[in-house]
């Protein structure tokens, strides 16, 4: 990392990261309490009410049987994408700038996936039977339906969740050990357990790197498959405007797009709140800005293709769906999405824009608002205009749904806040790998192991 040429020493990294775990200010507690409070009031209370009353608490109705819950599910799965995927790709391509950011990016993956799984529970009419979607031996001798894209979804998401939890945990073991050696009391006990007796021998390093690369190779196809499969929930139906072959790449690109924007947001917050200015700097924002630009162009292309296919099909139902999307009840949201996801990101062409922190933060939030809108529109506009005009309708989210949407954001923030106090949020050993070995002190070993 070229920007690390300041006087950072190995010990400074330990000091900074352990400080971020051990020293907890009042601001942290206030933020945590606020986030947890909002989660409880805006997420869990309305959900409990909905469990008691039925899905009728949400705004769904006859043609619009799917709503914001499913949109949130896709959104959170999408947000989960860049974390681990980006981290894997950058690990395999040996990109040094990955090292300061990937831990928080992977945590983002994990927590978004958890929120996404929770959104499925919220979406279901009878969530207490969700285990029926898992193939397990039971006394009813019933299997789930293996032809269903929803079942593929359950498989893909659980596999992805398992894979990315292993990936983040495996990569953190040496750091757990480092924190273990610098803490006392219950923390010491906890990190002793978490570090699995890591001593930092050559053999251990060798095995860690092997396993880590293996998992990285494994997770890339998983990440691509997860969102392709989520798209099949829609594309395998025969609903006009959903029944399209472009949907799998569309969802994957959209997922990586919103995920990358999410990482920019999280990095900005980490940089400000934890004083990680030396580790997360302008060069990271520059690189992510370039990635955002490429992804936005890809996303725009796919959107144009989607419109073209609808027009080219020449059927009245596809025309109607297309017309409704562009000029119907939800048209304003559609054009807002185009503005946020296709037009604004073009600013990333300029290096000055990419390297300024605040504009990048605003852009990243705008992109994610736009991407949420996209997911909402995919569901709302298509379901409102299906084959039989008699069954056309309108879906508007209810207060409960909006509250749960806000609450799910707070749930994510709460989990992230807990994470930064348990996990070393910057990968210490990998940042050290990018630094010169210390020369000034005579006591330092000539080719010291980074641990």
């Amino acid at each position: 990392m070229p920007a690390e040429s300041n006087d950072l020493q190995y010990a400074d990294i330990h000091r900074d990261v352990v400080r971020s775990i051990v020293e907890t200010g009042r601001t942290y507690y206030i933020t945590l309490a606020t986030a947890a409070g909002i989660t409880l009031v805006c997420f869990f209370f309305p959900w409990f009410y909905q469990l008691y009353y039925g899905i009728g608490a949400a705004g769904m109705n006859h043609p619009g049987v799917w709503g914001t819950y499913l949109a949130s599910f896709i959104f959170w799965i999408g947000l989960s994408h860049s974390g681990t995927l980006l981290s894997c790709v950058l690990h395999l391509t040996n990109s040094p700038w990955r090292k300061a950011i990937y831990r928080s990016a992977e945590a983002m993956t994990l927590f978004s996936l958890m929120v996404a799984a929770t959104m499925v529970m919220v979406h279901l009419g009878r969530p207490w039977f969700i285990h029926w979607t898992v193939p397990y031996p039971n006394q009813m001798e019933l299997w789930p339906n293996f032809r269903s894209p929803l079942l593929f979804d359950v498989m893909a998401v659980t596999t992805y969740l398992t894979g990315s939890s292993l990936f983040i945990y495996m990569g953190t073991i040496p750091d757990f050990a480092a924190v273990r050696d610098r803490t006392t009391g219950w923390r010491n006990h906890m990190y002793s357990l978490l570090s699995l007796g890591w001593r930092g021998t050559d053999k251990e390093w060798h095995r860690l790197h092997w396993a880590y690369t293996f998992l990285a190779v494994l997770i890339i196809p998983l990440a691509v498959s997860v969102h392709s499969i989520v798209s099949w929930d829609f594309a395998m139906s025969i609903v006009p405007a959903l029944h399209q072959t472009i949907f799998a790449p569309y969802f994957v690109v959209g997922a990586i797009y919103s995920g990358t924007a999410g990482i920019v947001t999280v990095m900005f917050v980490l940089r400000k709140s934890m004083n990680f200015g030396q580790y997360i700097n302008a060069s990271h924002f520059d690189n992510l800005g370039k990635l955002l630009l490429v992804l936005s162009l890809l996303w725009t292309y796919i959107n144009v293709v989607e419109l073209f296919t609808g027009w080219y099909s020449g059927t009245s139902t596809e025309y109607e769906a297309l017309k409704y999307k562009l000029f119907g009840y939800y048209a304003l949201m559609y054009w807002e999405m185009i503005l946020f996801c296709a037009v604004l990101p073009l600013l990333c062409i300029f290096k000055r824009f990419r390297t300024s922190f605040l504009p990048m933060l605003i852009l990243s939030i705008a992109i994610n608002i736009g991407m949420y809108t996209e997911r909402f529109l995919i569901i709302a506009t298509s379901l409102s205009r299906q084959y039989l005009p008699d069954a056309w309708g309108l879906y508007v989210p209810s207060l409960v749904e909006i509250s749960i949407l806000i609450g799910s954001l707070a749930l994510f923030v709460t989990m992230f806040l807990l994470f930064v106090k348990i996990f070393p949020s910057v990968s210490m050993y990998e940042v050290k790998e990018t630094m010169d070995t210390p020369k000034a002190e005579p006591a330092a070993p000539p080719q010291g192991s980074p641990a």
Partner: protein
């Protein structure tokens, strides 16, 4: 026969809807639009027979009514030259039903009578079947329903009362079919006779626009009616193979003929 051929044969066999080589019956219905007056007697009969909830004004306004059979109304033309068309729409009992493939827990499946069945106990409420259905005839229970007295006294004991979070739809009055099959068995007959079983909507139709029966029996009334030159299936181009056949309304081309 080598392995590949045997595999292909087995595969094709299992590709049949509902995994049955051949259906025992193929319950079908024809709806003669020339006879239909749009009186909605079928809608009412269905409501009474199948314990459909009375959702109330508010839910109705939100678009949460439950009507296993509904009369779709379409206006044709502009004001002076205007025509109103009806088409009763219910579950088409498709042989290649999109709703069956998407249910993750197989709560909806094809049985050996060629019926598209819904298992309320198994349903977890993903509502994806309603999205996949091109006819929009699947209805969801958005909350638990109450029957005000004395309506609670008229609930049909042969039919389940569905709880919140469960999808439901037209069953071709499967409880009556079951009863007819039981009677046939008690009488020592192998099959149900034509006309022995009628769903509530067919029974109540004053103009006898609806005909129900076994399409596997070439002599049945419904088979004859299906061979009518006016016969067509709704959204046939989607290849869902519906079991409900409509007979087109025929009109004189010239309005002033009389």
């Amino acid at each position: 026969m080598n392995f590949l051929e045997r595999f292909a044969a087995g595969w094709r066999k299992n590709r049949k809807p509902g995994y049955y080589d051949e259906f025992d019956y193929h319950w079908s219905m024809t709806i003669d639009l020339d006879r239909c007056t749009g009186c909605e007697a079928c809608v009412t009969a269905c409501q009474a027979e199948n314990n459909l909830p009375i959702v109330g004004e508010k839910a109705m306004a939100k678009g949460r009514e439950v009507q296993w059979i509904r009369i779709e109304r379409y206006w044709e033309g502009e004001y002076p030259d205007i025509k109103l068309r009806f088409i009763p729409m219910m579950c088409q009992q498709c042989d290649a039903a999109p709703c069956e493939t998407v249910c993750p827990v197989s709560a909806t499946y094809h049985n050996q009578d060629g019926l598209n069945t819904q298992i309320y106990n198994r349903c977890i409420g993903t509502r994806s079947c309603a999205v996949y259905c091109p006819y929009e005839v699947r209805y969801f229970n958005y909350n638990d329903h109450k029957w005000d007295s004395p309506l609670d006294q008229q609930l049909n004991p042969d039919v389940t009362v569905r709880e919140k979070g469960v999808m439901e739809k037209c069953t071709f009055c499967i409880q009556r079919i079951r009863q007819a099959k039981d009677h046939a068995k008690d009488d020592g007959r192998r099959r149900v006779r034509d006309g022995e079983v009628q769903p509530a909507c067919v029974q109540s139709c004053p103009t006898q626009a609806l005909v129900f029966g076994d399409a596997k029996d070439p002599t049945s009334q419904v088979s004859k009616s299906m061979n009518d030159p006016r016969a067509y299936r709704v959204l046939d181009e989607l290849n869902t193979a519906p079991s409900v056949v409509y007979l087109k309304k025929v009109e004189a081309k010239d309005n002033h003929a009389g």
